[in-house]
């Protein structure tokens, strides 16, 4: 350990959507390492303690080391020439960088899409259909006496969702913490999260929608046939008991995960759950919240929404934002071989997209911004090494409940931030194009 230590209090962990901002970091400035991350969960400890500055070139062009400036020029040339470029990722970077990324998409008439499209995208679509009753995490901490987790495994994926926000903490109207809450977990199998629940309801795989719809019927006082058990694995008695609890609690919450959204039914599942929460407000206070994954995926949703009116999968090729999941979402757009260039920011589609989409990424010029080497950076024509948000870069991150938090970086990185690189690319593309690119046939007056 070096001599030169500093402590950063109230730093923020951007590993998952909990975005806990109570990290007290001990930083070894000589070795550029975080040696201690007080209050961090097991995932957060790994996030901070395993972070080091690797000796990597600032950028690679065609696999050869290059300066950031040269890479900016190469990237700008690709984007300025591209006719149907895709900008993708964005969930693990700051809102400041996200804003510039959307600006580039608008300027060149490309598509901007975020990891939401392969994550809680269906919840976003369901939200557009039925709305949502929701709350900030502190309301859940202070008031929720019935907490229902559905299709998720927070103990492993969002450990402090239990301990900091929704199960064990004491709150203003929950003075005894865990004792004052009833916790229900609905899932297709037992997981390390199951022991945290008072009631575990195991549904047959691919039957979440049926269970939710039966619950809606029961809440509305309709009859449900006992054969529901054959279909879903959940007896009518269990459903009726849950409905009685849901109607009689003071403040109920659904916290739902990708077990619901990426399951058969997708946005119908999310929509059924959101509608159930809405229905329950006839009886008592109910809210629902998708449990988001990446540190700033919620920020990406917000930024893309305020700049375009739509949350993800937005195309600008006609000179204005268009939203069409399935058409402008990345997996679809790549699988159909439509994109002719891609700018990938802070995500790794070559690791987790379907094979056909990855194959297309290999065919087209790809630009990446990432702190680490990944399967995507390895197939990139231009790969920038950037500094890590939260640890090395300041900026803004939105927690899964839309609460924005300002980052307190621990130490400086020799690499530039995503925002810095994207701003340089934007400025260079603008110079190459002489301003925003106008779609063919745009009114002449608009060009002045």
């Amino acid at each position: 350990m070096g001599e030169n230590l500093k402590v950063v209090r109230d730093a923020t962990c951007t590993f998952c959507g909990c975005v806990c901002d109570d990290m007290h970091l001990t930083v070894d400035l000589d070795h550029k390492r975080i040696t201690k991350a007080e209050n961090a969960c097991i995932l957060g400890k790994a996030w901070f303690r395993e972070h080091g500055i690797e000796e990597r070139p600032l950028a690679l062009i065609g696999g050869r080391p290059a300066t950031t400036e040269a890479a900016v020029e190469a990237a700008a040339q690709i984007l300025a020439r591209a006719r149907f470029p895709l900008i993708y990722g964005l969930s693990d970077t700051t809102c400041e960088a996200q804003r510039v990324a959307v600006a580039i998409a608008d300027m060149i008439g490309g598509t901007v899409d975020t990891t939401t499209s392969v994550c809680h995208g269906p919840s976003g679509i369901a939200f557009e259909g039925v709305g949502e009753s929701t709350a900030s995490l502190g309301e859940i901490k202070n008031r929720a006496d019935l907490v229902v987790f559905w299709g998720g495994n927070p103990a492993e994926a969002h450990p402090r969702l239990f301990s900091r926000y929704s199960v064990t903490p004491k709150g203003m109207f929950i003075p005894n913490g865990r004792k004052d809450r009833t916790v229900v977990l609905v899932d297709v199998r037992r997981t390390p999260s199951t022991p945290a629940a008072d009631i575990f309801i195991q549904v047959k795989p691919r039957s979440d929608f049926e269970v939710l719809w039966a619950l809606r019927a029961l809440v509305k006082g309709r009859r449900v046939d006992p054969s529901i058990e054959r279909r879903t694995g959940v007896s009518l008695t269990v459903l009726e008991d849950l409905v009685a609890r849901m109607k009689s609690c003071r403040f109920g919450v659904f916290l739902f995960g990708m077990g619901l959204t990426m399951n058969r039914g997708r946005h119908f599942n999310s929509g059924a759950l959101l509608a159930l929460a809405t229905d329950l407000n006839e009886f008592t206070h109910w809210v629902a919240k998708p449990v988001r994954g990446h540190g700033n995926v919620t920020g990406a949703d917000n930024v893309v929404s305020w700049q375009t009116g739509f949350p993800f999968g937005v195309n600008f090729s006609r000179g204005y934002p268009r939203f069409n999941p399935g058409e402008f979402t990345s997996v679809d757009l790549l699988t159909r071989r439509e994109a002719d260039a891609a700018l990938i920011i802070a995500s790794d589609p070559a690791d987790n997209f379907p094979k056909a989409a990855i194959e297309h990424l290999r065919r087209i010029p790809v630009i990446t911004l990432d702190p680490k080497a990944t399967p995507t950076t390895q197939l990139a024509q231009v790969a920038f090494t950037t500094a890590t948000y939260g640890i090395n870069v300041p900026g803004t991150v939105y927690r899964m409940d839309d609460v924005p938090i300002t980052l307190r970086p621990a130490f400086e990185s020799p690499y530039p931030s995503d925002e810095h690189v994207l701003t340089a690319i934007r400025d260079r593309v603008r110079a190459l194009l002489g301003g925003n690119r106008l779609p063919a046939g745009a009114p002449v007056a608009a060009a002045s």
Binding site: A135, M172, I405
Partner: protein, 563 residues
Amino acid sequence: MGSPLRIVNGRVYDPANGVNGAVQDVCVRDGKIVADVPPDAKRIDAAGMVVMPGGIDIHCHIAGPKVNLARKVQPETHRDDVQLRTRLTRSGTGGTVPSTFATGYRYAALGYTTAMEAAVTPLGARHTLEEFQDTPVLDKGFFVLVGNNLLLYRLLQEGRREELRQALAWWLKVTKAYAPKLVNPGGDEMWKGGRNANITSLDDKIGSFDLTPRRVIAAFIEAGNELGLPHPVHIHCNNLGHSGNVETTLETMRLAEGRRAHIAHIQFHSYGAAAGKSQSNPTSRARDIIEYINTHPNISADVGAVMFGPATIMTGDAPLAYMLRRFGSNKWVNADTENESGCGIVPFKYQDRVYTNALQWAIGLELLLLSEDPWRMVFSTDHPNGGSFMSYPRLIRLLMDRGYRKEQMAHVNQKALDHSALRDCQEREYSLSEIAIITRAGPARLLGLTDKGHLGVGADADLTIYEEDEDKEKMFSAPRYVIKDGELIIEDHELRADHQGRLLHVAPDYDPQIEQVIEPFFEDFYTIRFANYPVDDRYVPKGQIIPTTPSAAAAPATAGTRP
């Protein structure tokens, strides 16, 4: 800032300086109105045109967490109302809740240069400021929600008035807000903590607190006045939208006891209850409201007019939005913010054949037509609650053109008109000078923006130049020129430049000791650390602090004089 500019031959409407349509030059330099510019300065020939200060929206909902939810939940309204990018400007989408860039450009294209976002949770301040950075042209500020704040409730409950004032100052300063906002005080606490209940009278007990809305409102009016804020406490009264709510509104205004208070979107608070079996139907009590305001110079209001067509209910008044859900679409958004507020959103449509909607439309007009002091009953639709800001030109025409108004009245639910006094104020037509007051000079004065809303030397060079037209809707729909901070943004009706406006905010002093009262509450009941809560200057690339004047706080403003 643009090059020096001389506007010649225009008829100038600058009511704050007593200029009423005189043809005179207006000179602009370095972003300000100046007495003179060199002879070789660029000239705008405004012959046949009207020159006014830039429009100021005192109460609208354009940025922040609830606005973004309202945008996201209505993709269908964006598809057919798009904002094309140009070489210089960004694209966007419209509907009643446009994207940020579209909001800025569209306001500017109507001649507006300043707008106040009227309801932001303290926790959402940072989000709002980020959206403001992407909302071009306009100068902007926001009102921060404090009327359902549980720490402030605790201080008030324990009679700690001095600490309440210090904490209010702290909240205004650390969020970079412009004014404190009360929304249905107590209502959100009843909603979140009381199985979706609501407040029904000023004397209801607020949940588990030993408090009533009456005590909360009186305390905040007092604290706001003591702090000497440029704009006093901005109040969305209890019982919004309910038949018979006029009594609550009058009682709320009386609580000010001569001190300054601003009542928001007062149209929604001016309802009587019909006699007999249709008791749930509202009637117009605009006359009672206007009588009170005419005789109480300490009170000001924005009208919150309703315009037929699509709207979006978005409010910190969560129980209200839940009630309106029955009349709106099948979508409803609710969003609770810990210790601070509630929020509700419902897509909505006002229909001229529907009794209640027609009555609301009539009351908005009545209030403006009966008002004797345009400086204190100013223009708003509570965008997008009563209708989009894009409907402002039509509302102006309804006020300026009685023939048009009469024609429109013929199309609406006649029973509603029977229960309003609109037919009795058919004669009045607003003059251009009065329009300049209710859309510019009045809001500036009520907000305490001494450099705005007028064209005197030293004022901000925010100007709008309209081509005169008999059709006032047409005239106010598309100004020929809009100048912001001395820069020509709109020329020949077209966007010519992009521009970033300023954040207008207050920064009242507070006793640092108050942080020792606030911090423990954060430890116990917030999920964000106290140290991470204040918004730092990085979120304000361009800002302007409007000074507070604590010493003069107790003195009520009087009508017709500049503060």
